[in-house]
């Protein structure tokens, strides 16, 4: 009938100080618990010593930000522990001025059963005490233990956590789904219908019972994403942010779970973890069917935003990007505007002229396309792609210059011998065949099929010299 420990914690546990008797089983509990605390208030079990509301609760260390081990934590602001001088309290709490209880302050404690001699009496846990008093007691409890012991435990804890990849910075592997309360300590662990009952308890406001029931459900089925999610939100409601975050790592099981993503974003926000909160919210919106956009739309938006910022000047590279995007989305008129804008800054850029031309052509503006290609080829006569494109537009226009253009391109390629002939020429040959086939001259078609460039050049009077 001894007071069960308050939320089971990592590192030196308040229970070391608050409870006289400790079972050996509890003492030998491995450092695997992972539910977290968010505030010092969590430390104190508000229940009657006889109740077991908070039994078997384990909280992992959930430290925001840095992954440094305690040993490095010499600066007080980094630590989430209450920093006070060690004092030996004999009876009851001593009132202290409360520190500011920040959202992310956390006292890291663990039930380890080592410092029995330092245990305080259970008179410290008295019903109906105010929140403030509870906080004081918690602080006091921590202060009781010597620094060295405390930090040793913390260190061990950190190392354990690091090993288990709990820390935010570690993105190398996905986190292992957290274990929860030790099995032996959960009275509901074999309960059938634990999840349903948990929902009921939560509704009734009995959050601690709900947590235990959910943990039981998870023990029965560790893949139960719904249970993990509800556990997360229940922890949050129960003012246990770290536990909430850890449970919401259930998203590993179902990455597009919208409620879990939102809950996670909220928890991160409470922890001031902006990057993580934004990432979660980004995922939420990207998976939300009502608002989801394609990747193309996303990128397009970014480029459009950027372009809007350029009030007085035009960035030709940015405009090129826009033009390419509009080509992808078949918004050819907008693409034409973008490339034209780029050309206004770089009118000698033959690549841009070709891009403009191809965009016009793909948008069925073949005459204008021909003009653009002509500009490109004036600037760079060896620009084979543009000549190929020109041939295509000639086909579109039904002009017989198509063939001579393809022949010129093929001839240039053959002469230069610089590029991979087989690769490129195949396209041009294919287009040439199409062009020739429209001329209703079977003997030429034969030459085109067999690749007789010389004959064709002679017939069409291309090349020479």
């Amino acid at each position: 009938g001894e007071q069960q420990e308050s939320r089971p914690l990592l590192s030196p546990s308040i229970d070391d100080f608050l409870s006289e008797s400790r079972s050996d089983a509890a003492a030998s509990r491995p450092l695997t618990s992972n539910t977290a605390l968010s505030t010092a208030l969590d430390l104190v079990d508000l229940s009657d010593p006889g109740e077991s509301r908070n039994s078997s609760r384990r909280s992992p260390l959930r430290r925001k930000g840095s992954s440094k081990s305690p040993r490095h934590r010499t600066r007080t602001e980094e630590t989430e522990l209450v920093q006070v001088e060690v004092e030996h309290l004999q009876d009851g709490p001593s009132p202290r001025t409360p520190d500011r209880i920040s959202l992310d302050s956390c006292v890291c404690l663990q039930d380890c059963g080592v410092s029995r001699p330092r245990r305080r009496t259970r008179s410290l846990l008295v019903r109906n005490e105010s929140l403030e008093d509870e906080f004081f007691r918690a602080k006091a409890a921590v202060e009781l233990q010597s620094d060295t012991e405390f930090w040793d435990k913390m260190q061990a804890e950190w190392e354990e956590l690091a090993r288990r990849n709990w820390l935010e910075e570690s993105e190398a592997q996905p986190p292992v789904p957290p274990t929860v309360s030790p099995v032996e300590q959960n009275p509901y662990r074999d309960r059938a219908g634990a999840f349903a009952e948990a929902q009921q308890k939560a509704q009734q406001g009995d959050l601690n019972a709900a947590v235990l029931l959910l943990e039981a459900a998870i023990l029965q089925d560790p893949q139960d994403a719904e249970a993990w999610q509800l556990l997360g939100t229940t922890h949050a409601e129960n003012e246990n942010e770290e536990a909430a975050i850890v449970s919401l790592q259930c998203l590993e099981l179902r990455p597009n779970n919208l409620p879990a993503l939102m809950a996670l974003a909220v928890s991160y926000t409470n922890g001031g973890m902006q990057r993580e909160a934004c990432a979660a919210l980004r995922r939420w919106i990207s998976h939300n069917l009502r608002y989801c956009r394609s990747e193309l739309q996303d990128v397009l938006l970014l480029f459009q935003e950027a372009a809007r910022l350029n009030v007085d000047c035009v960035d030709p590279d940015l405009q090129t990007g826009l033009g390419v995007l509009y080509n992808l989305s078949s918004d050819f008129d907008k693409a034409v505007e973008a490339f034209s804008a780029a050309l206004s800054v770089r009118p000698e850029d033959y690549l841009l002229w070709n891009r403009l031309g191809a965009t016009l052509a793909n948008g069925d503006r073949s005459e204008e396309a021909v003009e653009a290609y002509t500009r490109a080829l004036d600037l760079q006569p060896g620009f084979i792609r543009s000549r190929y494109n020109l041939g295509i537009s000639c086909i579109n226009l039904g002009a017989h210059e198509a063939v001579s253009n393809f022949l010129t391109a093929l001839n240039q390629q053959r002469r230069s011998r610089r590029c991979s002939q087989q690769q490129m020429s195949a396209n041009i040959w294919a287009a040439l065949r199409v062009a020739v086939s429209m001329m209703d001259r079977p003997e030429l078609f034969q030459a085109a099929s067999t690749g007789d460039l010389d004959l064709l050049m002679k017939v069409f009077q291309v090349g020479g010299v």
Binding site: G323, V324, N327, N354, R355, G357, A358, T359, A361, N362, D364, A369, R385, Y388, N389, I392, S393, I395, N396, G398, A426, N427, A430, A431, R433, V434, V436, S437, M438, P442, F445, A448, S449
Partner: protein
């Protein structure tokens, strides 16, 4: 007494309006007026004597189409897939071995169906555009000792016409039933069920027969019936249970027919009429017409610079031609352009041939030189206008 809370849909106020278009894809094909009119005849009972007479006409017509004397010849209610399942579910029991030739999508589907009913499925695969040799088949039969071997005669997803000779014998050598899918081929390419030792043959109404989709002719040899009627377990499907279907279609010895399901009577009318049309033309004439039109078509395609997907001439399915998707084009743009400008359906690839080909189906009344010219003109137009320029 409940109140009607869901309102009558607005969309049903609109007149039903269906466009006319040339159906030159892999199916369904256009339905000529004579067959369409047959389907508009008054609905009578699915067990009325007139219907039984029509069903009897159908059976005779199918025996002609399949070139079989099988008594167990009928039309499954539904389309080609219904017949595929009927064939498999009746002749295969859980644990039975099934060998499936996969050279396109139809083999994949047959394998899927056989797996679902607990058969031990093995496949022999040929690449898209290819086919299996008898040696390949014999090796597999010997190795796996299946009770059933599936082969698609007209593999419409790749445009391949699979050679059939000698395979029936092989199957029987290994005590195996020979199942052939001729949905896209029968009527357009030579096929003689009995002569070629086929145990189960099926097709669909909506291809060469030019009837609306809705019935799937099927026939079982004596050997196949032996297997189907000596099962240790019932077929999984009541609807496709051959003993019931046989009774409905009067293929069994029972004195009377018992209600099994409601046959799609108007589909029976159009199927009956489509078989009448075929019988009038004659099978061999129909085979020749399809072959000539296909050759004319292939020559026209090649003269346009397009390439045929199936290299070997004799392996080309005359009813569905697969064209290599041309360089520099987005095949979807070609098919959309042709649909928009020429009111003509041709299709892209299917299953293993997706993205690789264009497919043109010229089946039944659609298989003619005039239609070939129409398709070639549409393609020429598309090639002119749909070429992608390089940004």
């Amino acid at each position: 007494m409940s109140s009607v809370s869901i309102r009558p849909p607005e969309c049903l106020r609109k007149h039903l309006l269906v466009p006319h278009r040339h159906m030159f894809g892999p199916g369904p094909s256009n339905v000529p007026p004579r067959i369409l009119d047959a389907g508009a005849q008054p609905v009578i009972g699915h067990m009325h004597p007139e219907i039984f007479e029509i069903m009897s006409d159908i059976k005779s017509g199918l025996q002609y189409l399949f070139q079989t004397q099988n008594r167990m010849t009928l039309a499954v209610s539904g389309t080609g897939h219904s017949a595929m399942e009927c064939a498999i579910f009746n002749t295969v029991e859980p644990g039975d071995g099934v060998l499936v030739a996969v050279n396109g999508i139809w083999g994949e589907r047959a394998a899927d169906m056989a797996e679902r009913i607990g058969a031990r499925v093995n496949t022999i695969v040929a690449p898209p555009g290819g086919y299996l040799t008898n040696a390949d088949i014999e090796k597999a039969l010997s190795r796996h000792r299946p009770v059933l071997f599936f082969l698609a005669h007209g593999e419409s997803s790749t445009g391949v016409l699979h050679p059939l000779d000698g395979i029936g014998e092989l199957c029987h050598k290994y005590d195996c039933l020979f199942l052939v899918d001729s949905v896209a081929s029968i009527g357009g390419a030579p096929l003689c069920m009995d002569q070629q030792g086929i145990d189960i043959l099926y097709t669909g109404s909506q291809k060469v027969l030019n009837a609306p989709p809705g019935t799937a002719p099927i026939s079982f040899s004596e050997r196949a019936c032996q297997k189907a009627f000596n099962r240790t377990t019932k077929p999984v499907s009541f609807f496709l249970d051959l003993s019931w279907l046989a009774n409905y279609w009067g293929c069994d010895d029972k004195p009377s027919r018992v209600y099994h399901h409601t046959g799609p009577v108007t589909a029976f009318y159009s199927l009956r009429e489509s078989l009448a049309v075929l019988a009038e033309e004659g099978l061999e004439n129909s085979w020749e017409r399809h072959q000539k039109a296909a050759e004319y078509f292939h020559a026209g395609l090649e003269s346009m610079g397009l390439k045929l997907f199936v290299k070997e001439k004799h392996a080309r399915l005359p009813t569905v031609t697969t064209i290599v998707a041309p360089h520099g084009y987005d095949w979807k743009e070609i098919t959309s352009y042709i649909m928009k400008r020429h009111n003509l359906e041709i299709s892209g690839g299917l299953g293993p041939s997706v993205g690789l080909v264009l497919r043109v189906g010229l089946m039944g009344c659609n298989s003619s030189r005039a239609n070939v010219d129409m398709v070639l003109a549409a393609l020429r137009d598309a090639l002119k206008h749909c070429h992608r320029s390089k940004v």
